[in-house]
Amino acid sequence: MDLLLLNVMILIYLLATLYLGYRAWRETKDSEGYLVAGRKTHPYIMAMSYGATFISTSAIVGFGGTAGLFGMGLLWLTFLNIFVGIFLAFVVYGKRTRKIGHNLHAMTFPEFMGRRFDSKFIQWFSGLVIFLGMPLYASVVLIGAARFMETTLEINFDVALLIYSVIIAAYVIWGGLRGVMYTDAMQGTIMFVGMIFLLIMTYTHLGGITPAHQALTDMVNLVPKSLAAQGHAGWTAMPVFGSAWWWTLISTIVMGVGIGVLAMPQLVVRFMTVKSNRELNRGVLIGGIFILAMTGVAFMVGALSNVFFYQTQGNISVNIANGNADSIIPIYINAATPEWFVYLFMLTLLAAAMSTSSSQFHSQGSAIGRDIYETLSGKKGGGSIMLTRAGILVAVIIAVTLGYILPENIIARGTAIFFGLCAAAFLPMYTSALYWRGATKAGAIAGLITGTLVTVFWYLFIHKAEAVPLGVAKMLLGRDVLITQMPWPVVDPIIVALPLAVVVTVIVSLMTKPPSDDHLDECFRGVR
């Protein structure tokens, strides 16, 4: 480790951040200025800032490492990230969310839903789902950052997690750097350049695109027997159809995360703060390229790291990482790239994780203060401020504690659980809120409860990966899972919970009285 180089890079990075922060602050001193600056914001800045928030350590370190284990099948997630997470999210969901959100003066996702369906229950229940579900996701983002520090700085993981947690707590309590899009855009730009550099370096090192892929294809015989037994068919092949490995890849990783992104509360909120539909149109262009360069490259490099490690160290990635997929990307970047790049990448990754973590903790805090306390008590102001702050503190403590107790190989799975829960609980209600005037309060509530409960039930009693460690099924039924016959123990909840929630939302809506025309006209005012 070159301490001098590391310190110089930290200094340059901080100076650049401070300069951009100062520049943004000068341009946005008052609300008028804020508005004009927002209007003038170049779509590049807007889309890069969105991308830096969307992509965190979880996507690059967690899912990149998962690609080192599963192979290129993960590219299906990249496809969904681009097509669903950018194209559909911006064009089909973003524009209406922005307009209806403005009409309803909504600040949070639960508030948007609560006002659209005129239901306090929806608001506080959604807030509760976010507050209880998000700590897992927040925690795996922390773990991703700590894993990178562990490898790069050559320190113990527990120490890395502690250092990072202290930094993040100070950052969140200090108030974060909300609204400073320039710094986000800088992070996004460095990430973009860094990932392109990483891809070129990887392909060059391995002799070009086709030879690199061919070398990986030829490694099929090196798949460990234990993985082949579960359906792993090589790193450039899909897992065997219907095998445990296939179900995990398709149902948990690809579907859960690929579709769940549409209903992520902290991303939905961003559409409400976008200045106009035109910015969303322009954002699609930059976002599409950005995500391809982020997750596309991370998954390609993750898979190809097997060739690199086999050629240089005679072993496959997951073995080099001692069985922990979460460490594959940090080890690969440390081994395959120049030292200055490793430090730059680490700083960018940590900064990106900080903006994601900060928004996660704020979402949880406002879920407790605004969506749960205010809605249930009917009081505003004093008490809810205290509760919001207390909620943020509790969220930080829970996330850090989880960071210490969660097992290895958790980043991708932890992310997928939260994304899947959001998809099943919120997506039917959110979609019908935007597009179906006939959707009723009762229908939305029924769908929300169905999606949430089926997901929770599935994790506790059916999906083996969670049911076994949680132990509830064992305690109540005396066995690990309710259904042992394949493929059910490996089928992700989203496959069952989301369709059920859709059906329930539609049927109950058709059976109950639609909202008044006045309310609907107010919601859809100006929607084209």
């Binding site: 609300s31 508005l35 209007r39 998962t66 290129m72 099948g73 590219l75 990249t78 496809f79 681009i82 097509f83 950018i86 194209f87 064009v91 524009k95 403005h102 003066h105 600040m107 086709t210 030879p211 070398a215 990986l216 294809t217 099929v220 234990s226 082949a228 037994a229 359906g231 068919a233 090589g234 450039t236 092949a237 899909m238 065997v240 159809f241 095998s243 106009s276 539909n277 035109r278 149109n281 954002g283 699609v284 262009l285 599409g288 390229i289 995500i291 391809l292 069985g323 922990n324 102001g381 401020i385 919001t388 702050r389 097992p407 190989n409 083996k464 990966a465 076994v468 460690p469 490996v490």
Partner: protein, 94 residues
């Protein structure tokens, strides 16, 4: 070496014969594109690039669309920004 516990979180079991056989069958037949034999994988490799291109084309075609109501929207957003700022002050004390 690889730990007994995998991403699934549960211990691995003995190889079911059908898995190995199906894996072999899956590897056979078909053309190799960019060094990848499985059409589902090279297909999605290209699909990722095409979907990013779709985003680029959409962005270019609609670069200046939906900005015609700017005056109305600025007015609307001005009110909204002020309200949001007040709410944030009230809620978060920030």
């Amino acid at each position: 070496m690889l730990h007994a516990t995998t991403l699934h979180g549960h211990p691995t079991k003995k190889t079911p014969g059908w898995c190995a056989k199906a894996a072999r069958e899956q590897q056979q037949a078909g053309v190799s594109v960019l060094g990848i034999d499985d059409p589902v994988i090279w297909g999605v490799y290209l699909l990722c690039i095409f979907s990013a291109l779709l985003c680029v084309i959409y962005g270019i075609v609609n670069w200046n669309r939906e900005g015609e109501l700017e005056a109305v929207e600025i007015q609307e957003e001005a009110v909204w920004e002020v309200e949001e700022e007040e709410m944030q002050k009230k809620e978060l004390g920030q």
